[in-house]
């Protein structure tokens, strides 16, 4: 984090670098309003703008030509996301505009923000605690509405509340140990008794929080769904159909190789990264063999594989991982396989059922997730909870030990909870946290 700074004017694209209707470019730092006014018309309106107001106008290039018609959100120092003087530029999402705007901002003296730097600044100006900062990271990275709702809950402090309650309970256990160490046996006559039920109860609360991690991960990072099957099984048609079903495409990006195509779609509120594995057929051809190898690796990494089979073909059951595969017969308009999931890309028949079944499979194991359940999403939180559980289990296993040793286990458990609520800090934690931030970049 050596390279982070505060106050120095920075900018970053806050939305995806992809053709879209609208894009937001964020700036922050001392003097950013005045600096931007040098390339804005009407500049006087911007310079005089009060905090929290919108200014409509044009961003101009060096030669006076218009880069784009924009709306600026103006934040005076002490307000806004970072707590610094800042302007957010809402512009049209054409790549050409974004490129020109970036170049212009650099000319004006803004530098591109480092990964996580906006959040770092917000944090530095005391605008959020670690839990909130992580939740913001998720909103930025979130790909669907449901994911955003979860992140907003975080901001409202639900996780902190759940953690706070566990923390209080652990504190009270620790206090009952400490009193035995701070006062002599002739003053505190009762011996300490291991609080069996309370510890079990806390462990099970912690476990249920840990179990929300996988569900949380799918909502945040999205689920990898791979369409697989032999060539001509109808994968590409299904791919196109699913993409059409979802009107909220973020960015269809061609895969890094020609072997597959991927895109983000939203299925029933779950962000899904959908892969179409092209050319999956046995072959002696070297190039094609490489393609097959990659497809197999994609399938291995997938959260879910949708395996398409032509009704005329056999099902290669031994090649499929049943635990995460949905078997679908294609071309149901030509022939229906009774008792199995069948679709027709031509008529659209069965696609709704398939979507429902994908959503159900991705959500399975997360039924317990009520809307108001606090959810943990970050690996750091999960690791801390697990370490906390470990400390408590060690305590349980060591219950015969003397009080000073028992206290160590509960101190450790509390430290771990503190790591999540941001109440305990150290340099390493900050370093780790900010290197994981992917804000605006």
């Amino acid at each position: 984090m050596e390279n982070y700074s505060v106050d120095e004017p920075i900018y970053a694209l806050a939305t995806a670098y992809a053709p879209s209707a609208l894009a937001v470019v964020r700036t922050s730092g001392k003097g950013s309003i005045g600096m931007l006014a040098g390339a804005f018309s009407p500049s006087g309106r911007l310079v005089r703008a009060a905090n929290g107001t919108l200014v409509h106008g044009h961003v101009l290039d060096e030669d006076g030509t218009t880069i784009d018609e924009v709306v600026l959100s103006v934040y005076r120092e002490g307000h806004g996301y970072t707590g610094e003087e800042a302007v957010e530029i809402s512009t049209h999402g054409s790549l050409m505009v974004l490129r020109r705007l970036s170049a212009r901002l650099v000319q004006l003296g803004f530098r591109p923000a480092l990964r996580g730097e906006f959040t770092f600044r917000a944090f530095m100006h005391g605008r959020m605690d670690l839990t909130q900062a992580e939740a913001v990271e998720e909103i930025i990275g979130s790909r669907s509405v449901k994911s955003q709702e979860k992140a907003m809950d975080r901001l409202a402090g639900q996780l902190r509340e759940a953690m706070g309650s566990i923390r209080t309970r652990l504190m009270s256990i620790l206090a009952s140990l400490e009193v035995q160490l701070d006062y002599a046996e002739d003053e505190i006559l009762e011996d300490w008794v291991f609080p069996e039920e309370e510890v079990d109860d806390i462990i099970s609360s912690l476990r249920s929080l840990v179990s929300t991690y996988d569900a949380g991960r799918i909502h945040r990072d999205g689920a990898k769904v791979v369409l697989a099957g032999k060539a001509n099984a109808g994968k590409s048609s299904l791919f196109n159909l699913l993409v059409k079903e979802d009107r909220a495409i973020v960015s269809p990006v061609p895969g890094t190789t020609r072997d597959f195509i991927e895109t983000w779609i939203d299925l029933g509120g779950i962000p899904v990264r959908l892969y179409d594995t092209a050319g999956l057929r046995s072959s002696d051809d070297e190039v094609e063999s490489e393609g097959i190898r990659r497809s197999a690796s994609l399938m291995a990494q997938a959260d879910l594989v949708v395996y398409l089979v032509d009704p005329e073909d056999d099902v290669p059951l031994d090649e499929l991982d049943e635990t995460k595969t949905i078997l679908v017969y294609s071309k149901s308009d030509r022939r229906r396989v009774e008792g199995a999931l069948s679709i027709s890309s031509l008529t659209g028949e069965g696609v709704g059922d398939l979507v429902a079944s994908i959503v159900a499979r991705l959500s399975s194991g997360t039924e317990a997730l009520q809307d108001d359940t606090p959810v943990i999403d970050s690996r750091r939180q999960r690791d801390s909870l697990i370490a906390c559980i470990e400390a408590l289990e060690n305590a349980r296993a060591s219950r015969g030990q003397s009080v000073d040793i028992m206290a160590l286990f509960f101190q450790r458990a509390l430290e771990e909870i503190g790591l999540i609520t941001g109440e305990v800090t150290n340099e390493e934690l900050l370093d780790t946290l900010f290197s994981q931030f992917c804000l605006g970049k």
């Binding site: 982070y4 505060v6 106050d7 005391g126 002739d186 003397s402 000073d404 800090t425």
Partner: protein
């Protein structure tokens, strides 16, 4: 030319250690006290040590202090507390013959080279260019010095309360030190009020001993000091009794007559050592409270009622004390009383205990808001050593939290201040497993030698002990039983050094302190190793120094509250800054950024 190098104001436990340390360091030292007859008084309980406090005493001894010697030559009962609950946090406590203790203290001062004693009351400090250069006394003496250590205890504007009666005293029958508090206020020192109290003393021959439980000490008694192996002192018993419903109802009926509840006392009292009326009011469900009846000396009739401190009027005291079994016919020789006194906000001090406000002025003891003889003495020795080091032009002795309870004590005081009389607890020490009483010499003697506070003899004694410990480890390693060596066997919970001694008599030839220490080291090895590695991480943060002239106004983004706190405490390191209460993670991050020049 100054009259003295170092003047110590006050002859209590902090003053004694400060004066001896300064004189030991070779500086011409003067102790000025209000009463030469009251040096080293145990004003409250007749005991030294206890949990965490016993560790302090042994640390003071390791630093070359005198408290260990004084209690060793005056104890009348000795116990190791919490042996069973926490072998690693157990601590020694001894009942003292308070008259012997005090007499020995005065004699020791009289026999200390470089130390002069003078009876007068200090009313003002002489100041020149922001430095203290001497003192002014009640009888008009102006005595100059290069450094001054202030250890006025509860005497600065002390006021005693017994029910409706009150008087300007530091202890019952001893006048308060008036004037100095005003002078310090005038100079801008942040002065506050605290309260403490002491219970009644009853006459031994008037007790019904058949109604009291006997509490015996350990046999043999062991010394607090590392300088010798044995103590030879008479043993006396303590006694236990309990309050009852009748006691409580008398207290409740008269609670309005307590100055604590009537609002006459504004100073905050210690929550950990409440008066009996506090206990009765705050814990109405408890139907009895335990009271210890402790002898104050061998040839002394006064018995101390530990747990029964009070500020209720004397007639009420007489009634409720006589409801306790064993005390029903007791004669009360001295009443319980509360005392309210001035203290100086310790956040105004550097970790060396030197004042940030007035150079060469060091402040130690109860004046800094602490309670307890051991806490006072611990600060006293550090202040005395540091006054001397300052005059030598050497860097001060600042003990870290992972080095000593003394380090925890002083760091807490100067970093967080205190709102109630501060007492040492094991739970204040993050690395308490490493801060055992028995290894205080290993932790501190070499450092004290470096700081000129102990003789070479002490260092040699330590080296001898360390080499015997390693011999014993070798003996254990060579011994085999059930296919395991002695060190492995000792790790098993039920195996002790004595058990092994049955099969390997060579073990029993080592002195008990060596055996005990090796046993704890071995048994706790795993936990100690973990705590040591945590302590290393801690030390790294302590090593991230913040310059003394850090400009907090120039750091953008600090909240104004945090900024004020930082300017007040002026932390010496990132580690210390992190411990300032109310400071946020983001504040620390900002300071770190500023340090890195971002």
């Amino acid at each position: 030319m100054r009259d003295y190098d170092i003047i110590v104001i006050g002859g209590g436990h902090a003053g004694i250690e400060a004066a001896c340390a300064a004189a030991r360091e070779g500086f011409a030292t003067l102790m000025v006290t209000q009463s030469l007859d009251a040096i080293g008084r145990l004003s409250c309980n007749p005991a030294i040590g206890g949990l965490a406090k016993g560790n302090l005493v042994r640390e003071i001894d390791a630093l070359g202090g005198v408290m260990g010697h004084l209690i060793d030559s005056s104890m009348i009962q000795y116990r190791i507390l919490n042996r069973r609950r926490g072998p690693a946090v157990q601590a020694p406590r001894a009942q003292a013959d308070k008259f012997t203790y005090s007499r020995n203290a005065k004699q020791l001062l009289e026999h200390t080279a470089n130390l002069s004693l003078f009876m007068d009351t200090v009313v003002d400090l002489m100041v020149e260019d922001g430095r203290v250069i001497g003192i002014v006394t009640e009888r008009g003496w102006r005595i100059s010095a290069r450094a001054v250590v202030l250890t006025t205890g509860t005497f600065m504007d002390g006021r005693i309360f017994i029910g409706e009666w009150d008087a300007p005293c530091g202890r019952l029958g001893e006048s308060a030190a008036l004037g100095l508090g005003d002078s310090l206020r005038r100079m801008g020192f942040p002065v506050g009020r605290l309260k403490t109290g002491t219970p009644a003393r009853v006459r031994r021959s008037s007790l019904d001993f058949d109604e009291l439980e006997i509490q015996k000490g350990d046999d043999p008694m062991l010394p607090f000091s590392f300088d010798y192996d044995d103590v030879d002192r008479p043993q006396m018993d303590c006694y236990v009794t309990w309050t009852n419903e009748e006691t409580h109802s008398i207290i409740r009926e008269n609670i309005h007559r307590s100055p604590l509840y009537g609002g006459k006392i504004v100073g905050k009292g210690p929550r950990y050592c409440p008066s009996i009326e506090d206990k009765v009011v705050r814990f109405p469900d408890r139907d009895r409270h335990q009271i210890f009846v402790e002898p104050e000396g061998v040839e002394c009739e006064e018995m101390y009622l530990n747990g029964l401190s009070s500020s209720l009027p004397e007639d009420v005291q007489h009634r409720f004390i006589r409801t306790l079994p064993g005390l029903r016919h007791c004669e009360i020789m001295r009443p319980a009383y509360a005392v309210e006194y001035d203290y100086l906000d310790p956040m105004d001090l550097f970790p060396s205990l030197e004042s940030k406000r007035l150079e060469n002025l060091f402040i130690a003891g109860q004046t800094n808001g602490t309670s307890g003889y051991e806490e006072a003495a611990a600060q006293g020795i550090v202040a005395g050593i540091n006054a001397a080091l300052k005059l030598r032009g050497e860097s001060p002795l600042v003990l870290r939290r992972n080095e000593a309870y003394i380090g925890v004590l002083i760091d807490d005081l100067v970093t967080k201040g205190t709102k109630e009389p501060y007492r040492m607890f094991t739970s204040r020490a993050e690395y308490r497993l490493c801060l055992r009483h028995d290894n205080a010499d290993q932790r501190l003697v070499p450092l004290a030698y470096e700081k000129h506070s102990v003789e070479e003899e002490k260092l040699r004694r330590l080296e001898e002990k360390v080499s015997r410990m390693s011999d014993l480890r070798a003996t254990l390693k060579a011994y085999r039983e059930r296919g395991k060596n002695g060190l492995e066997l000792l790790k098993e919970p039920e195996v002790t050094m004595d058990v092994l001694g049955a099969g390997c008599p060579a073990i029993l030839e080592y002195p008990a302190p060596v055996r005990d220490e090796v046993e704890l080291d071995v048994k706790y090895e795993g936990y100690l190793r973990r705590q040591e590695s945590e302590a290393e991480a801690f030390s790294r943060r302590e090593a991230m120094a913040i310059p003394a002239d850090m400009d907090y106004d120039a750091i953008k983004g600090l909240s104004s509250e945090s900024r004020e706190k930082l300017k007040l405490v002026r932390p010496a390191s990132i580690g210390q800054a992190q411990r300032i209460s109310g400071l946020r993670v983001s504040d620390i991050a900002l300071i770190m950024m500023a340090l890195k020049g971002v």
